[in-house]
């Protein structure tokens, strides 16, 4: 009986498997669509003007499999729209962008007038800093400054994702005693005291609340931080906040949010231009996966690097999409790090009064935001950090969340020899077994992601 049932199930199983395979999402029709889209883009996209193909002609073109192509096609910028943030209705407001740019470079937002956003996010250093971990006022921060390239495309901010918008990230950094050492009342007072800034503010956000004046407000005030890692040096600052009437505190929060949304609007303009990689992929799509003589945007070594990126090296597992980042969190170091990363970032975000579910977000409920805030805090998130974008990475060395690697060679060596420990480790993390030559190809490809056109 069992035998008969087994044979019957075998037949049924095979039939099911066949159907199940048919039911799997296929990329064939998508490929067709993408090809048409890419053709249109190629014909009209202004970014193609002036682009120079690689000087080295393709001598030994590589062959990409259908599976590799299905992943490669998502890497090009041609599909990318401008970054959006529905929680910030001023995100594309030209005057907000202009005000945000002024504030971004203004050291007066810090209480001691020593640190601006640009102090750590230096545009000449890839919107980051060459220090593995920058020192401010003699104190070394615990993480490397993340580059701001394409940060508007990230769904989480900070290495641990404790902010779900750029304006929340700006508030956090401004009030962090180890970073800008500012506070929201200090920021409001800056607007009240500076006629030019106040004029800009009014032109975007309207009149300042009448409850806010230089005479009525203390010099500094902010609530006690709930997040770990934020040192508090002056208790009177928190006492001053608690003594303010609730309505005044609300007005301060609103104005502060406006200011930080303008900084966020500016940061969302920091998008990287297309590279030779994008041109190569666009042409590859047009040529339906074949590398033709028209497609000399990448030389042979760089093509080998791209193939390794999506195959043997498996970089694509996390560095996917046009931003070369899945925007999510992974544990890739297995030493005894005191930094819990995402595991703490989640709780910080969920308890933050300025998160995407707060009254300060401009759309309620935010589409998709509710679900994003239902982040799951599980053990695998311990010491997990956000996947950084790889675009323009040559300008933002050193690498990793703590800046431990000075070069791309060191990064690849790490993955090539990785030895994950613990049953919560990502099972796909295994030693890559790349030859020295293959490692060199990969580095050459990664460097093209910073190519100047």
């Amino acid at each position: 009986m069992i035998r008969h049932r087994g044979i019957l199930l075998l037949v049924i199983g095979l039939a099911f498997n066949a159907h199940a395979e048919l039911n799997l999402p296929t990329t064939i029709h998508e490929n067709t669509k993408q090809t048409g889209y890419a053709t249109t883009q190629l014909a009209t996209a202004p970014h193609l003007e002036g682009v120079k193909p690689s000087q080295t002609t393709t001598e030994t073109p590589v062959h990409f499999t259908v599976h590799e192509l299905s992943q490669i096609k998502h890497l090009t910028l041609s599909h990318r729209l401008a970054p959006q943030d529905l929680s910030n209705k001023y995100a594309t407001h030209p005057l907000a962008i202009a005000l945000g740019k002024v504030l971004f470079f203004d050291t007066r937002l810090s209480s001691d007038h020593q640190v601006a956003c640009a102090t750590c996010h230096n545009p000449k250093q890839g919107w980051s800093t060459p220090d593995p971990r920058i020192s401010l006022r003699g104190v070394t921060l615990k993480r490397h400054t993340p580059s701001l390239w394409n940060t508007g495309y990230q769904r989480w901010q900070f290495w641990d994702g404790r902010a779900d918008s750029l304006w929340l990230q700006a508030i956090e950094s401004m009030e962090n005693e180890a970073e800008m050492k500012g506070d929201r009342v200090h920021a409001v007072r800056l607007i009240l005291a500076d006629a030019n800034l106040q004029t800009s503010y009014r032109s975007i956000f309207g009149e300042l609340p009448p409850t806010l004046s230089l005479t009525a407000l203390p010099l500094r005030a902010k609530p006690r931080p709930k997040q770990e890692g934020i040192t508090v040096t002056d208790e009177t600052i928190h006492q001053a906040w608690e003594q303010l009437p609730a309505t005044v505190r609300q007005d301060i929060n609103q104005v502060t949010t406006h200011l930080m949304k303008s900084i966020a609007a500016f940061e969302m303009t920091i998008t990287s231009p297309p590279t030779r990689v994008d041109q190569f992929i666009d042409q590859l799509i047009v040529d339906q996966g074949q590398i033709t003589t028209n497609n000399s945007w990448l030389n042979s070594e760089e093509q080998q690097g791209l193939k390794l990126f999506v195959s043997k090296a498996q970089c694509i597992q996390c560095h996917s999409g046009s931003n070369f980042s899945d925007g999510e969190f992974h544990r890739i170091f297995f030493d005894k790090s005191p930094d819990w990363g995402r595991a703490i970032g989640i709780s910080s975000l969920l308890s933050n009064p300025f998160n995407g579910n707060s009254v300060y977000a401009d759309q309620h409920p935010l589409p998709n935001r509710l679900e994003l805030l239902n982040a799951v805090s599980t053990i695998p998130f311990r010491a997990a950090f956000k996947t950084p974008s790889l675009r323009n990475l040559s300008t933002s060395a050193p690498y990793m969340h703590d800046g431990r690697f000075a070069s791309l060679d060191e990064v690849i060596k790490h993955y090539n020899e990785i030895q994950p420990r613990g049953h919560h480790a990502e099972a796909v993390l295994k030693p890559l077994g790349l030859t020295p030559q293959e490692q060199e190809y990969l580095v050459q490809f990664l460097q093209v992601l910073s190519s100047q056109l």
Partner: protein, 138 residues
Amino acid sequence: MLKKQLLIYCLALFFLPVRVMAAECNAPTCYSLISAKDNYHLEIQTTQTVPINQLFSLDIIITNSEGKPLTSKIDLDLDASMPQHNHGMNVKPVIKNLGEGKFQVEGMLFHMSGAWTLSFTITKGITREAAQWVVEVQ
């Protein structure tokens, strides 16, 4: 040797808790499943082909094994994991029970490419029954 392999395959199928049924609705946005003990039929409708690293939602209609509406109240839980990676989703989806065996699941996010296993748990009173759906995301 071949007989042995066949026997192992048959046994595996016999004890397999979940079977993927042929789609009666139109793939790639509609899928049908039968639960582990054959008591429920699940029709899963997506708004689009399951995307990589983008939020998507599911509309689920659960009927009895004959495809007829349920007469008892049920509840549904859903999780998704990547067995080959040893992890699951980084977000927790929101499941709305619309009654009459209909559910809306919002906030699904598959942030990596590869095979994802969706594990459904249907609860009726004190009884629970599982169903699984394996989807390859590219």
